[in-house]
Symmetry: C2
Subunit: 515 residues, 2 copies
């Protein structure tokens, strides 16, 4: 199994079909194969050798697609960088992975100088875009033009294909090493659920291609044939226009993107009848958004995928058939055919159906490990199972329900409290703009349910009122016993709430089972 096999197949079976559509630029699979073979040769010319890491920092484009394929073609390992990172984070990932080449687009071109001083490991910078390429930086198009096509190295199987850096809510990001087998089998597992990607259809990329949530669809689309229609990023209006214009059959959106798309007036004005599969992931969809989605797109098959980068990423799928059962809408679905999923307690012992514990997974899609971090790898993969850090349970039919991150779960007076559930309840109070619920040390309860709340501008509420509000929605013992009001919550680089920051001030000097 190797990622470029899909390119060979597509170029041979459907040479004249568009591989990529990016604005006015359309490239067929035959052209794509030729360009990838030239780009790989150019990478060799830049000194890239077998197993070398090469990175890309760019918004979505057809060049991104070509670079993802040129890396294995050249026997190299791709490192897609998060476009939301600061320069120190970018530099860290480049240094940590030892990347020899960095491709940047117009958006990041001005950062090259700064990155160059911080990331000493990078030998060559390549610019892909419309702006003038500065001296000391190679031009993406020029590299392709000037190179002669090289044979595919056919890097594959257990060979390292990519290093994806995870957000790192605590500490520095970790590089997740994924092999070709990891990525291809994960895509096959998702496809084997019987939907996921219309054969020979058109997939819209508007979620970031540096993230595997979009990358999973990218691999599957390459494998089943058809075309990629690529937008630089997400804008609900542009997405609605693109669906109509390109007769899009499949797209991946994060739940917040679905909400913005469905609620956009433009979506109602456009012909969206070509859509077949709407994939979403990272979190369950709210009943309200789902209903609006089904009203707007009654013929579309909704599919939720759950997983994580370490699982390449798709591990469970809630199919469109599952979506018809309201009771299942809170579920993340069932294990894809290649995966096993189970729940264990803190001693790694299996727990019975319905009992909350840590979600662990096994299968050919489990990462090779964390780059240069044998200790963290051994811990994450202990016993041959990937420990997700997610708390959840399985029902008697194998449906997975995620309740919280394990480390965000609170044990108060011997009862488990899931911060996510309390946050949901708190959020429904009209005065609450955003909130985070954490466990803090308590002499009576072991841990106490504590909320940190940002109020809506011009509105007010006190702790007692919020506690009473929660008591109408969830069990009384889950309601916050104490509340801090703040102006803003600390965020991680991935724009998630940095709960470890919030916990820090309370746990200084105290020990907590999980931090």
């Amino acid at each position: 199994m190797y990622l470029t096999q899909a390119l060979h197949r597509a170029a041979q079976l459907n040479p004249e079909l568009p591989a990529t559509v990016f604005g006015e630029r359309v490239r067929t699979w035959a052209q794509c194969k030729d360009r990838v073979a030239r780009l790989a040769a150019a990478l060799h010319g830049l000194g890239v050798a077998s197993g070398d890491r090469i990175a890309i920092l760019a918004q979505n484009s057809d060049h991104y697609h070509e670079f993802l394929l040129a890396a294995p073609w050249a026997d190299a390992v791709v490192v897609p960088l998060n476009t939301r990172w600061s320069v120190p984070e970018i530099a860290f990932s480049l240094q940590d992975s030892g990347a020899r080449v960095l491709v940047v687009d117009d958006t990041f071109l001005d950062l090259v100088g700064e990155i160059r001083s911080a990331a000493t490991v990078v030998d060559a910078y390549v610019h892909s875009g419309e702006r003038r390429t500065p001296s000391g930086v190679y031009g993406f198009e020029k590299l392709i033009e000037q190179a002669e096509p090289v044979e595919d190295a056919r890097r594959g199987g257990a060979d390292l294909a990519a290093i994806y850096y995870t957000g790192g809510t605590t500490g520095t990001p970790k590089g997740v090493m994924l092999s070709h087998t990891n990525l291809v089998t994960a895509a096959l597992g998702a496809l084997a659920t019987g939907q996921f990607m219309e054969p020979y259809g058109r997939l819209l990329h508007c979620a970031p291609m540096f993230h595997l949530a979009d990358g999973a669809g990218w691999i599957a689309r390459n494998m089943v044939g058809g075309s990629h229609v690529i937008l630089p990023g997400f804008d609900p209006k542009v997405v609605a226009d693109a669906v109509e214009k390109y007769r899009i059959t499949d797209m991946f959106l994060a739940p917040t993107m679905i909400q913005m798309f469905v609620d956009s007036p433009r979506a109602a004005e456009r012909d969206l009848s070509s859509l077949r599969n709407l994939l979403y992931g990272s979190s369950p969809i709210s009943q309200a958004v789902l209903e609006r989605t089904m009203r707007l797109l009654p013929e579309v098959r909704l599919l939720q995928a759950y997983g994580m980068t370490e699982l390449s990423p798709t591990t469970t799928v809630l199919t469109s058939a599952d979506h018809r059962d309201p009771a299942l809408l809170r579920s993340a679905g069932r294990a894809v055919p290649i995966a096993e999923v189970k729940i264990v307690d803190s001693d790694d012992v299996d727990v019975p159906c319905g009992t909350v514990g840590e979600v662990v997974a096994r299968g050919p899609h489990v990462m090779l490990g964390y780059w240069n971090r044998p200790q963290e790898t051994a811990t994450a993969l202990r016993g041959g199972w990937m420990h997700t850090g997610d708390g959840g349970y399985l029902d008697e039919n194998g449906y997975l329900y995620i309740v919280d991150r394990i480390k965000d779960m609170i044990v108060s007076g011997g009862e488990n409290v899931y911060s996510a559930e309390v946050e949901n309840a708190l959020s429904r109070h009209p005065a609450v703009a955003s909130c985070a619920v954490i466990g803090v040390p308590d002499p009576d309860w072991g841990e106490r349910v504590h909320a940190v709340v940002v109020l809506q501008p011009g509105m007010s509420a006190d702790a007692a009122e919020l506690r009473d509000h929660c008591g109408t929605l969830i069990a009384r013992y889950k309601a916050p016993r104490s509340v801090d009001f703040v102006d803003a919550l600390p965020l991680t680089p991935a724009a998630k709430i940095a709960k470890h920051e919030l916990r820090k001030q309370y746990w200084r000097g105290e020990s907590r089972a999980v931090s």
Copy 2:
């Protein structure tokens, strides 16, 4: 990737769902896992060690299913034997593979003595069935009862999973070595076409389980969850009854079986509304049978799979959507997502679209090789592509059309003649019971189209009449220039016509490019 992973997953997610239904005997996935773990332990007790080959000679049953899983669980390699073979052929396969254990059912129990004298390599015989187990033979149930469950060896990846002996139309059968990755990726490739096997449905086994045409469905069903309903063999009446009784969702039939099933009065009397996918393979379906099938089963999705044991086996699929286009019905479909298929000439050079040559395939489903036959392996896999021996062409959309076996193609006066096409024309003459068309040496034409014909009892026809008949259906140069009338055609053990036997008498002393 390992074949037993599906068992772990099913036993954990759906422990109480039936794994197998065989007559009145129903076993759940939890029971199946326990029995497989015990059977594997019993195999160790019989001396089976890592990588040892263990064989089975039996009609379909739930025990067949258990044995197929117990082999890798015990770190062994399964050798499923063809139930139509003679004792010398059985003994050859046992000796050639070095099988240490042979499982036989009631049908083959009486052959044990004869096999024992011919196959000296076998240490232990196991009997699965209702008859009394003779002394010197182990009982299948007793072995399971008396053993304690052992841990899964988790044999997988590139490890040898099975040796399937191919019919061998010329010479002795060859053992095709398939790895776990071969078999699992082939099943995933078929599943990734978007149909093939209803998730959590019920698959009917009535084609022989020793053959991978049925085995491919067996693997896919294990992977997507659901149940196996197993019949000892094919009987159209019993099949119709079983579809109604067990609400069968999927079944695999050879085209001749479809014809017998569709034409059986019982099929019209039974409720077949549960059927979702009807898979067929080995040869394209005739328009007439297809129309009758669609009339009987208007809601069923028809799917043709093409491949061979050496390709694990599924390589191209004609989907149900494809079946709606009459022009595609002669096609074997398009490459599954894991496979590349192309056409090459006799020098292994790619030929253009529409040109007939040898069908070759590449992908993770290509066999490891022929057991103990490095020379034949190197020839079959030269250049990294499996050479199928099938003649065919691809159209501009990547649909594959098989015209003949390469070695059965005739070059007469510089024109290619496909024996299959001539045989189809000949068969439509009312006096022709069966026929074979071969190329024989000819001083003027190089090769001459020659027919060997068995007439219907009590009917007559001469060479000129048959030639004229063919001339009304196919180009004149393809019609047989000479005809032999015989009482019967020689057959191979796999019940195919032994054309090499027919050719032998004509080519003695002459050389032919392909024999």
